[in-house]
């Protein structure tokens, strides 16, 4: 098609290949082309972190990335966190600790938490706060989210 380009990447472990308009944002490809609507758009300006995804294991705001910018990279969205019939330990812990209210911030929070624990399995509360500092939550007041993440760290559950 005129004006489009091929976009290839590994999304949640699967190779994808699509033709997309060249100035499309990563968040639009995820939500509108791949149907991965777990990635939320809050501000659309890099301020809230609701659109966070992991690119090669590190958190990025998918509203600030051009899809073609992450060509051939490894992308993890919230849909790729759990296995088919088991929640991820972080997801279990968020539920147990009441760290989810409206849920809008939750996908982003879980992904920054995963990125943190993958690198640093035993973070302090301070380190957890830094890791989630790019993610806004209007509901929980954050402390339950920090509790939920540190509980997983203490159990030493990986991944």
């Amino acid at each position: 098609m005129i004006g489009t380009k091929s976009f290839e990447a590994i999304v949640n472990g699967e190779q994808v290949k699509l033709n997309i308009p060249q100035n499309l944002r990563l968040i639009d490809v995820l939500r509108n082309y791949l149907g991965l609507t777990g990635t939320k758009e809050g501000c659309g300006e890099g301020e809230c972190g609701a659109c966070t995804v992991l690119v090669d294991g590190e958190p990025y705001n998918s509203c600030l990335l051009f899809a073609l910018q992450v060509q051939n990279k490894n992308i993890l969205t919230i849909e790729g966190l759990a296995s088919y019939n088991n929640l991820h330990p972080l997801q279990e812990s968020f539920l147990e600790h009441g760290a989810v209210q409206c849920g809008y911030c939750t996908p982003g929070m879980l992904l920054v938490a995963k990125a943190l624990l993958d690198k640093n399995p035993n973070p302090t509360r301070e380190e957890i706060k830094v890791a989630i500092s790019g993610n806004l939550c209007r509901c929980t007041g954050y402390s339950k989210i920090v509790d939920a993440i540190s509980a997983v760290a203490e159990k030493g559950v990986k991944r």
Binding site: P21, P59, Y60, L64, F66, L68, Q71, S133
Partner: protein
Amino acid sequence: MGVEFYKPQKLEDVLDVLATKKGPLKILAGGTDLMLDIRNKKYEVAGIVDINLLSELKNISVEGEFIKIGSLVTFTQLANSTLLQERVPFLVEAANSVGAPQIRNQGTIGGNIANASPAADSVVPLIALDAICSVLSPLGNRDIPLNQLLCGVGKTRLASDELIVEVKFKLPRKITRSAFVKFGRRNALAIARMSVAILLGLDGNKVNAARVALGAVAPNPFRSLELENMFLNKAMEEIDVDEVIARSSMVVSQALGNRPSAKWKNEAIKGLMRQVLSKIGIM
């Protein structure tokens, strides 16, 4: 929408795209400024030139008496560099002061410079260090001092087919102290933002080199020789803190003239100066 996305693999290819493809073209580093500028229609673009495949622009190195930082080095890389932590901690502090981990992962030093915001955080310590930018165009390489490259709010002397390859500065001597402080979030009104970077070289207890740079006071960050002179050739305990603070307020007043922000910024600088002096161990 006819935007072409180019992804050159080598520096020569970047130059080739910049020289031959239909413009206006914009270089894409992290995209944290560019994405929003394009979406807010700040300018028209016909093509986006993504330079992220140029891994040679992602290194921090020492060459002779210079530290060289590739233009694609991110705030996260600056913050994690042990070399920078040891020799220019105030640049690390500036990188860490950038709001969110996601932005630190994505935003680059080259983009911070080229975007030419009055408050660009990494630029304030870089100005204090008299940093020099190496830029490349089809005509060749040139070095241009950062304070000349920047020429107004959002303005640089880069030609449209020119890119910043790296930024470099002389390695400060081992015995220096430096600090960076700022207040105001990025999206706060311009009036509510300001930053200070300071670096002192010490010979025993005596200050033999002094750099003081201010951000968000003028169109671009600048060094204040007037303030630097108040530290030079003094022993640490001889530095008159109250006088430095009073003078910093005058410097800010002069720089802002009769702009409405002057009245409050020349007060606010006093607190900021007190903070930076205490961080560097003078009070």
